[in-house]
């Protein structure tokens, strides 16, 4: 059994939940078919299995180190990335005209999932490079693309995103890095960037840092932020590498998880000679960075889901092998002990993981499909509709998996008992890796504020309305299916509460009070979305069961069981949370810093 992939579920998501066959029929993707996709996924799974998974524990125990000169990383990281590059995966999703393979996004998501389940510490280098290349491809000049894109798509150079600074994490408007124009056309970059993943290493010949900085004299706040290409080594016009740019690694951060990825404090322009090249228009940096970030946010949610998948697969296997105890009614100690998978509480722990992993997966596939449809249509109205749906779902796609797939990793540890708490087994590492995800790419709180403070009311609530229509469509489609009647009714009720809660909050005059429980709202909203996607999965499974054979019977029954679990054990929690939000509860808001310990920490 694979510990990084459930290929049956992957096929379900691609061909049953989504309609990838229809995507193959479009002109853009006509060279692909099921057989080719399966072969591509085989290669990806094999590389992840052979090159990423075996060194995951070693990489965690031997994080990159810095001797003041150079960063050292265990050689397996470079070997893994090399195999990834040779397989052509950096360029997979790019258009043919820039040297890509024009692979459907849904397949690219699947493929990336194998690597992130196997070893997120290696995977991040490639993930960031692809993201940076995407942004360059979207907003760069032809000259910039000619210079940087090729080597990035071959994996020879890597890419990063440099937003955060020591004093500006959540609050990007407070960044201080400066970009001063010169007469030669380049800018001089000066400032410190904190937390930069992949910011320095010797894995690739060059590193293309994508840096947010302010051009002096520009508008204040986020409207005065511009984006720059700042290469570790300057690039000559013929593409060869020139002098080292004035970027220095001040130190590496020592992290709880994701330990294979260097995390850097970078100083730009310590000697006043750091060249940066404006990418896109001045002061549009944040907007352009969102090319990378929106994709990255879906990617973060997906990474969270894949860490949970790896824990789910491992703990399921373990539960089938570990013998411990007997059923409550069988007290006779001379009878053999049971595999713990027979204990109801272990089933609960495993089901909770399945419901989180496959629920979150459905959401990420759904969002990726929206991005795909954007590429496939020229129709302005359709484009607009897809963009709005993505606007409202992106905070959920990033945050729900980060919160609830982390919870799934907690359950995986529990299934292993004491063994799960040790480093001899992978589940504690998976938990530590996953703990990052609701911190970076906007913390959980920031996405709550984004959803409740902006997304649900944007364009007069247009994004929310579109999402409600989507959910309604599933409710209508399942209203006649008696086996799903209970869920249909529960989801309709939850949806009504969501709408009422949103209206109540919007009607309140004080913004601070409105957003006092935004994080709680984010979780509850996410639960409704995931419940909707479980109902869709159950709908497909119910129809498919009629003609299912062999292992497929258990597969579809498992989908129905997980839907039942989610509606009975999880969805009711959202109603309690919505009540708190619509009561405009001020318990936390009223709290004074001195209440916490009796001393005022301010």
């Amino acid at each position: 059994m694979s510990l990084i992939a459930n290929r049956r579920d992957v096929d379900f998501m691609m061909y049953e939940f989504l309609n990838l066959d229809k995507v193959f029929q479009t002109e853009r993707y006509q060279s692909y078919d099921r057989e080719a996709v399966s072969a591509i996924l085989d290669t990806a799974e094999a590389i992840a299995e052979d090159k990423y998974l075996p060194c995951a524990a070693k990489l965690d125990a031997n994080e990159p180190s810095f001797d003041g000169e150079k960063v050292s990383i265990i050689p397996e990281v470079g070997e893994g990335l090399q195999a990834f590059a040779e397989a052509g995966f950096y360029a997979a999703s790019f258009d043919e005209d820039v040297g890509g393979a024009q692979l459907p996004g849904i397949v690219n998501l699947t493929l990336a999932g194998f690597f992130s389940a196997a070893n997120p510490g290696i995977n991040s280098y490639a993930f960031l490079t692809v993201g940076a290349a995407n942004m360059l491809n979207a907003v760069g000049t032809q000259e910039q693309k000619d210079k940087y894109l090729g080597p990035m798509l071959e994996g020879k150079w890597s890419g990063t995103m440099c937003l955060s600074e020591p004093q500006a994490g959540s609050s990007l408007s407070d960044i201080r890095t400066k970009a001063t124009p010169t007469e030669e056309g380049h800018y001089l970059i000066e400032g410190s960037k904190m937390w930069i993943s992949g910011g320095d290493h010797e894995l690739t010949e060059n590193i293309v840092e994508m840096v947010l900085a302010k051009i002096p004299g520009g508008p204040p706040g986020v409207r005065g932020i511009s984006l720059f290409i700042v290469p570790k080594y300057r690039v000559n016009d013929d593409g060869s590498l020139g002098a080292k740019n004035d970027i220095s690694l001040a130190g590496l951060n020592h992290k709880m998880g994701h330990r294979g990825t260097t995390n850097c404090l970078l100083n730009f322009g310590e000697n006043g000679d750091c060249h940066g090249y404006l990418l896109g228009k001045p002061h549009e940096g944040l907007k352009n960075m969102f090319h990378m970030m929106n994709e990255a946010r879906i990617g973060v949610g997906h990474g969270a889901t894949m860490s949970a998948l790896a824990g789910f697969l491992y703990s399921t296997k373990y539960a089938g092998e570990r013998l411990q105890g007997r059923h409550p009614q069988d007290k006779d100690p001379s009878t053999p002990q049971l595999p713990i998978i027979e204990h109801t509480d272990i089933k609960r722990l495993l089901m909770a993981q399945k419901a989180a992993v496959e629920g979150a997966s459905a959401l990420l596939y759904y969002c990726t499909d929206l991005v795909e449809e954007q590429k496939l249509t020229d129709d302005k109205d359709a484009q607009n509709r897809l963009a709005l749906l993505l606007e409202i779902l992106t905070p959920i796609a990033k945050s729900w998996p980060s919160e609830f797939c982390l919870e799934a990793n907690k359950h995986a540890i529990q299934v292993l008992g004491g063994y799960g708490y040790t480093r001899e087994f992978p589940v504690e590492r998976l938990y530590r890796d996953n703990r990052l995800n609701h911190i970076h790419e906007g913390t959980h709180a920031i996405h709550g504020i984004d959803l409740l403070g902006r997304k649900v009311s944007m364009f007069d609530g247009a994004a929310l309305k579109l999402l409600l229509q989507e959910v309604q469509a599933t409710l209508s489609a399942t209203s006649e299916m008696s086996a799903l009647g209970e869920y249909n009714k529960d989801l309709e009720q939850a949806l009504k509460v969501l709408v009422e809660t949103t209206e109540t909050v919007k009607a309140h005059e004080n913004v601070n009070t409105q957003l006092a429980n935004a994080t709680i709202y984010l979780d509850a909203f996410g639960h409704v979305v995931i419940a909707w996607l479980w109902l869709r999965q159950a709908q497909i499974a119910t129809n498919a069961l009629a003609n299912a054979q062999g292992d497929d019977v258990a597969f579809y029954q498992g989908k129905l069981a997980a839907c039942r679990y989610f509606f009975r054990y999880e969805l009711p929690k959202a109603l309690v949370q919505f009540k708190l939000v619509s009561d405009l509860d001020e318990t936390c808001m009223d709290l004074k810093p001195e209440h916490l310990t009796g001393n005022n920490p301010l």
């Binding site: 694979s2 290929r7 060279s31 057989e35 080719a36 072969a39 591509i40 085989d42 290669t43 094999a46 590389i47 195999a83 040779e86 397989a87 052509g88 995966f89 997979a92 393979a101 692979l103 054979q549 062999g550 292992d551 497929d552």
Partner: protein, 248 residues
């Protein structure tokens, strides 16, 4: 030089095989199938010879059900040039495979036939040897190194006592062992290019050779479950138990 590489579609090495309830064989319904790992090594070796400029064309051939076409595509994605699919139903035994391959070799006239030493489904380890005999070509089996030099194929063989090197006058048959090479992954661009490479389809019957099975399978069963062990008091008891069990 042209190289012929026969490849077999088998149950994937990661799959835990299940016996059919009627005990007639292994259940292959909905089971992941892939190229026999020893055949992958043979394809890889052929591709490396081509990259060295020694081989000019790699022809891969598979005998079996229609889906064996996927196995040919995998070989084409690794670097083979064209494929021949020979369709046949049911289990084609090594002698039948060797006879068909002889007919293919007569037609294609390769300078070298590279094939896996055995397939992991039935572990027969016979096809290469039978094929060499039928063609009356020299054979180098269990190869861990293959060097083509001055018209000779030097094959380092893994044998019980260590290694043996034989120099074969081509054309020759070579069967590959595990340590010959590490097969490459089929890259995304090459998988897509392979879709455009030609695959010829023929029926086994069209070769006019007798491929009817010569063996009868009585039944296929799971290996017996391992039974629980037993703890003994001391060495003396252990020895007497072993004696009683006829092990001493």
């Amino acid at each position: 030089m042209k190289v012929l590489v026969p490849v077999k579609r088998v149950i994937d090495y990661n799959v835990k095989p299940r016996v059919k309830p009627d005990q007639t064989g292994v259940d292959l319904a909905n089971v992941k199938m892939s190229m026999n790992p020893f055949c992958e090594i043979a394809v890889e070796e052929a591709v490396r010879l081509k990259e060295k400029g020694i081989v000019t064309e790699i022809v891969v051939v598979s005998i079996g059900v229609a889906q064996a076409q996927e196995t040919l595509r995998t070989a084409l994605a690794m670097g083979a040039d064209r494929g021949i699919l020979i369709t046949a139903e049911g289990d084609v035994e090594p002698l039948a495979v060797a006879k068909i391959l002889k007919a293919v070799a007569d037609e294609e006239q390769p300078g070298l036939i590279l094939l896996g030493k055995q397939a992991i489904d039935n572990d027969n380890n016979q096809t290469g040897q039978m094929l060499a005999a039928l063609l009356d070509w020299p054979q180098g089996t269990f190869a861990s190194e293959v060097v083509v030099e001055d018209g000779k194929v030097n094959v380092t063989r893994e044998i019980d006592g260590g290694l043996q090197t034989v120099a074969l006058e081509g054309p020759a048959v070579v069967t590959t062992d595990l340590r010959l090479n590490e097969p490459r992954y089929a890259s995304l661009p090459n998988i897509m290019k392979a879709k455009k490479k030609p695959i010829d389809t023929k029926e086994a019957a069209s070769f006019g050779v007798d491929i009817s099975p010569r063996l009868t399978v009585l039944k296929v069963t799971e290996p017996a479950e391992r039974e629980a062990g037993e703890k003994v008091e001391d060495v003396a008891t252990l020895v007497s138990k072993l004696k009683a069990a006829g092990a001493l």
